[in-house]
């Protein structure tokens, strides 16, 4: 019954296993209510048709307050269950586990690019191991897209200008549809692909067999040299006119305006693309040039991977 009598696609993720009972519940409640109302209408319509000889006496004075109250409370209770259940599942799926496999996703008109931590890149195809949490860090280069895997029951918009995340734990090996489900222009319906869920060992084999490109971290390092970031950002202990980047990931950074922010991925991205937006306390007299439009989104993802690698110990220590 893992596909709810064929109404749902095969359930291939932990989310699917959790969601399907809720959907079945919704279907049952709706089915029951619809039938109940339809049956009542038909029954009344037949019984009280004009030709029928039936007792039609009603007490015009009767107070139907209790009935009206029932009309509100019963649906309210049913809906409360729906709300609580749906919200519970939703909130449970917000935060990805810290040890999740991190894959970068880039959406653009009209293709999906995936990049594995070891550097393998693929287009419109995503290979993931079974029974391991996978976290997608996604961004779009142009319009809004949306990554949707029906068999996993997950989707999230892929927005330009900011990272969004989606995570899931595949539970069954196989091939599944991957759709773009936010309308994005002419070839929206062709921005599709497949997710291949493999056993852990197959996945390892696949990774090994795949001609590995540079890892994000490595290409980040190259870009770092190419764009001469190091000309300003000196390595410790040498301190120049700009802040050192070692160890900053997920740490609190004091800003010039007196507040602090946590140097997460969104912050790092902003600091590269639009450095002036948040200036680190004590710096900024010789401002950093904005790299907006200079670097591709892919390049930025790589640079962030590199900067993160400069903070080896704090990776999981999100405050």
């Amino acid at each position: 019954m893992d596909n709810a009598f064929g109404l749902l696609p095969p359930a291939a993720s932990a989310d699917a296993a959790r969601l399907d009972p809720l959907i079945l519940f919704l279907i049952c409640v709706s089915g029951f209510m619809s039938l109940l109302i339809a049956a009542t209408i038909v029954a009344f319509a037949v019984r009280y048709r004009r030709q029928a000889r039936v007792n039609r006496s009603i007490n015009a004075q009767a107070n139907h307050g209790w009935l009206e109250a029932t009309f509100i409370t019963v649906p309210a209770l049913v809906m409360a269950v729906m709300f609580a259940w749906g919200t519970h599942l939703y909130l449970g799926a917000v935060q990805a586990p810290a040890d999740a496999l991190q894959i970068n996703v880039l959406g653009k008109q009209w293709m999906w690019k995936f990049q594995h931590p070891q550097g393998q890149r693929e287009i419109n195809e995503l290979h993931v191991p079974v029974d391991r949490a996978v976290r997608l860090k996604m961004i779009s280069e142009d319009v809004i897209h949306d990554l949707y895997v029906p068999a996993f029951r997950v989707k999230h918009d892929v927005v330009p200008g900011r990272y969004s995340t989606l995570w899931f734990t595949p539970t069954r090996a196989g091939e599944y549809h991957l759709f773009c489900s936010q309308y994005c222009g002419s070839k929206h319906s062709e921005m599709v692909g497949r997710v291949v869920v493999m056993s852990q060992s197959d996945y390892a084999g696949w990774l090994a067999g795949k001609t590995s490109n540079l890892t994000p971290q490595e290409s980040g390092k190259r870009l770092y040299a190419q764009y001469r970031c190091g000309s300003c950002h000196k390595t410790l202990p040498e301190i120049g006119t700009c802040p050192p980047l070692e160890g900053i990931y997920n740490q609190r950074v004091p800003l010039a305006d007196g507040t602090t922010v946590i140097a997460d991925e969104a912050y790092l991205r902003e600091s590269i693309v639009r450095p002036q937006a948040k200036i680190v306390a004590g710096y900024g007299k010789e401002p950093m040039p904005p790299f907006e439009g200079v670097l591709t989104e892919e390049g930025i993802l790589d640079l962030i991977a590199y900067i993160k690698s400069l903070s080896p110990n704090v990776e999981k220590a999100a405050p």
Binding site: D257, G258, T259, R274, P275, Q276, A277, G284, P290, E292
Partner: protein, 237 residues
Amino acid sequence: MTSPTSQASTSHTQSHSATGHLPPVAMQFDDALQQHDACRLGMWLFLSTELMLFGGLFLAYTIFRIAHADVFAEASQHVAPGWATVMTALLLTSSLTMALAVQAVRDGLHRRATVCLLLTMLLGGGFIGIKLHEYHSLYAEHLAPLFGWPFGYSGQQDASLAKMFFVLYFFMTGLHALHMVIGISLLCWIMVAMIRKRDARRWSTAAEMVGLYWHFVDLVWVFLFPLLYLIRPDKWF
């Protein structure tokens, strides 16, 4: 078409002192009071729609200002608070003259109404004049990011975010200025009637409606002024 059907049974009593000063009654209304009430209610509803129209811009402004408080504070140094104070004073004064004009029309004082309307228009015109001057100097300073005009922002803050301030500035003041222009044309229309010594009573409702509109435009400015010109770096969160 304009014969008032008298309704003995209506609840609308004609006891009001001002009834004598109201315009003739259209076919669909029972009496002048009903007509006047309907017009007023309609006008207030219209003003609600206007407020919601500006509301969209206020929302955009709010979220960008919260996100980039420092940028907005710095960028607003480039628009002239001094001139804006003068503009606010002009507009507030015009609201006074407008209120007086409405009263004068209602009292049938053609001359006084004309003068007050003229003053209102002049004050409004002065406002537009300064506004144009301000637009022009922003354009000259390359701070008008419209129509592909050159944009160059020199400040501590990020230029592309500062641009957002100027975009909002132009959209908000532009929409407001457009309302001013419409208001001035409406004033013109009433003033012509006053100069031609048309029966002022026929115009009292119209003048009152234009007055409401004018005050509303003034009211929007009362908020735009501190929001766009007097920003201090504020730290809320």
